[in-house]
């Protein structure tokens, strides 16, 4: 329905072209066409790169995925590629996602709301914080790994992993939540900044408090943008391997760690999909090549599912906004 109301798409392209010609003196738009082609090439380039990756992985991992998909997804790490499975990695990645959603999203969005709606934009403190957060978003992920090691594994090890020297999925989840926090803050702040000033002024004009304006007008308007940012952040946290190595994800072998919802096991040793992929990729032999490719495909699917869920949510907000 939103398509129908958009004036730009009303009428045929032929009519649009006729109008354009009549107001630009009838000349063909050469520069415009070249520009369009350049943009198209840029787009094709990214699509081709993605396609090559996916096709390469699918060809290499096809046998694993077709012949023993069930065993592969429900199996454990092993010394033999034929017996290897990724359930423990899926579990770790699942919990990292949960920690990101539960910790980084609320904290990040709340920080962004404060920075955009409440703080004085021109105050030195606000600008200082803003610049710092932008810098933090560019800090290499290993540095966050070191932070996680110092803060969660060493200092808080007794709480997050009393029976694993702190090297638990809780420590990993917290580390990655902090890693994506700046991204969530920045993208949410951008989304809030894009809300027209007039919407707020109209709210204040009819006597609404700042809270009411934020809650009922600004947030619904900014929700799709905020969601886009959080999706990128979630995908990032699901795909990171470097910080997990420092936090102590298990690379070689792990027994147990297959119960997804066993909260008591959250303090045990863990592994995650990106770690499994990095480890397997380094092992010799054809067998490891194909299970690595298969694990990469599963990780892609996991990220895709997370993205799809967020896009569905965003579309719902979009409709609400009308």
């Amino acid at each position: 329905m939103s398509v129908m109301s958009n004036p730009a798409t009303v009428g045929s392209t032929a009519a649009t072209e006729r109008v354009r010609r009549s107001i630009t003196g009838g000349k063909a738009d050469v520069k415009g066409t070249i520009f369009m082609l350049l943009m198209l090439m840029a787009l094709l380039m990214s699509v081709v790169i993605l396609a090559v990756l996916v096709i390469d992985m699918v060809t290499q991992g096809r046998t694993v995925l077709t012949e023993r998909l069930g065993d592969f997804v429900t199996g454990s790490m092993s010394s033999q590629p034929e017996a290897s499975g990724i359930l423990q990695g899926l579990r770790g990645t699942f919990w990292i996602g949960v920690f990101t959603v539960v910790i980084a999203f609320p904290l990040g969005i709340a920080s962004a709301i404060y920075l955009e709606e409440y703080a004085h934009h021109k105050s030195r403190v606000a600008r200082f914080i803003d610049v710092n957060i932008r810098n933090l978003a560019g800090v290499p992920s290993v540095v966050y790994g070191i932070l996680g090691l110092t803060l969660f594994v060493k200092a808080m090890g007794g709480i997050v992993g009393p029976n694993s020297n702190g090297r638990s999925v809780i420590a990993a989840g917290l580390t990655l939540a902090i890693l994506v926090l700046p991204i969530v803050i920045i993208t949410s702040a951008e989304a809030l900044r894009a809300v027209p000033r007039g919407i707020r002024e109209a709210g204040f004009g009819v006597g609404a408090t700042r809270w009411e304006v934020t809650r009922h007008h600004v947030l619904p308007y900014a929700a799709p943008g905020i969601l886009t940012g959080t999706v990128l952040a979630l995908a990032r946290s699901l795909g990171e391997a470097a910080p997990l190595i420092l936090v102590g994800a298990t690379t070689g072998y792990l027994s147990g760690g297959t119960e997804f919802l066993d909260l008591g096991a959250l303090t045990d040793r863990f592994t995650a999909l990106p770690i499994i992929i990095t480890t397997w990729a380094g092992r010799p032999g054809e067998g490891w090549v194909s299970v690595t490719a298969a694990a990469i495909i599963v990780l892609l699917v996991v990220v895709l599912v997370a993205n799809a869920a967020a896009i569905l949510l965003r579309n719902r907000f979009d409709k609400k906004r009308g």
Partner: protein, 347 residues
């Protein structure tokens, strides 16, 4: 721009400051990175719990420990076993810090590592579990050579040998590094394991590293050789040329046809790799493999005791299953009695 001033501003500016600790914490983390190794003393007190076995250490021994762990997990589903392979040295740091129960090691514990363990009150039981040996080979038909000096091996496949297309091309370099330098003038066709293989790193550590270090080179092989992850293909490469050169794990070379396993001379005469010369480490390209068990943890953790019992019992076959050389009967018996008696310290 203060469009809508309210009375709350003051309260919120206090909140603004709350964002600072996040940045501060990150800075702190980045600055105190050096702490990661030695850790805090409080870790020593934490127990691994009765239901877990934590193994770290050498990536060479890692496949053996993983194989044993899989056998163990089959009959002990409630015990959490974790195996990592960051390297012998990194493993000892964790082990002497009391963080791991067992450390895999591809070399004997060093004096400074013993000191580190002692200063943290960690007593260890040293258990030799197997041997790592690399066989260097040529084609059966190659009459020109039967014994090769360590320096010659370095000259043939070390980091400085890139581009050598005949054996003789390496002679000058071989003499320089203390080898014999009497290699035949024949085409050189090299086949060996690829860089990602454990046999590659074993070979580099046993045959290349010392020479490379002395000459200020990186410890690696030349890049221009036929690399394969499949031992069978390496053997085929050796069989495929009359003047080939290559290396595989000894356990594999022993059973290969059409190849001539070379004797190696590292200054103490030519030694042919055999089960005996590898077991007593008189063959230069061999080394013992160990596991180090934390004695106190073994005393209080039944799962750990059961695990080591299995390791030295039925599961000792894992050593040869993953491609290494078994201990001799006597050495294995010695290892078992060390474990039974819980003999601490390095032998």
């Amino acid at each position: 721009m203060k469009l809508f001033p309210t009375g709350r501003e003051a309260r919120y500016s206090a909140l603004k400051i709350a964002a600072v600790p996040i940045a501060g914490a990150l800075l702190l983390g980045a600055c105190s990175s050096d702490d990661s190794g030695d850790g805090s003393g409080s870790d020593n007190g934490s127990e691994s719990g009765s239901g877990s076995v934590v193994i770290s250490g050498s990536s060479t021994v890692e496949p053996i420990s993983i194989d044993v762990s899989e056998k163990f997990a089959g009959s002990n589903p409630d015990v959490n076993v974790t195996v990592d392979g960051p390297g012998t040295g990194d493993g000892f740091e964790l082990f002497c810090n009391g963080e791991t129960d067992i450390n895999d090691a591809s070399s004997k514990i060093k004096d400074e590592q013993i000191e580190a363990c002692e200063s943290n009150g960690v007593e260890f039981i040293e258990l030799r579990i197997g041997n790592d040996g690399i066989a260097v080979m040529t084609n059966d038909a190659n009459e020109a050579i039967s014994c090769i000096h360590g320096g010659d091996i370095y000259a043939l496949v070390g980091p400085e040998s890139q581009g050598f297309e005949t054996w003789a091309a390496a002679n000058e370099l071989a003499t320089e590094v203390g080898g014999e330098g009497d290699l035949p003038d024949a085409p050189l066709d090299i086949t060996g394991p690829g860089e990602e293989s454990g046999t590659y790193s074993s070979f580099v550590e046993l045959a290349i590293e010392d020479y490379a270090e002395e000459r200020g080179q990186e410890a690696q092989t030349r890049p221009d050789y036929q690399a394969s992850a499949d031992d069978n293909i390496i053997i085929q490469g050796i069989q495929g040329s009359d003047t080939s050169f290559g290396w595989v794990g000894f356990a594999f070379a022993r059973n290969a046809d059409g190849v001539k396993v070379l004797e190696v001379d590292e200054g103490e005469g030519c030694v042919l790799p055999t089960d005996e010369t590898i077991a007593d480490n008189s063959y230069p390209l061999s080394r013992p493999l160990f596991i180090y068990v934390n004695k106190d943890k073994a005393a209080e953790n039944q799962a750990l005791t059961d695990f080591v019992d299995l390791y030295l019992g039925d599961a000792i076959s894992s050593v040869s299953d993953v491609g290494y050389v078994d201990l001799s009967e006597e050495t294995l018996a010695e290892t078992r009695s060390r474990w039974e008696a819980r003999t601490t310290g390095a032998a």
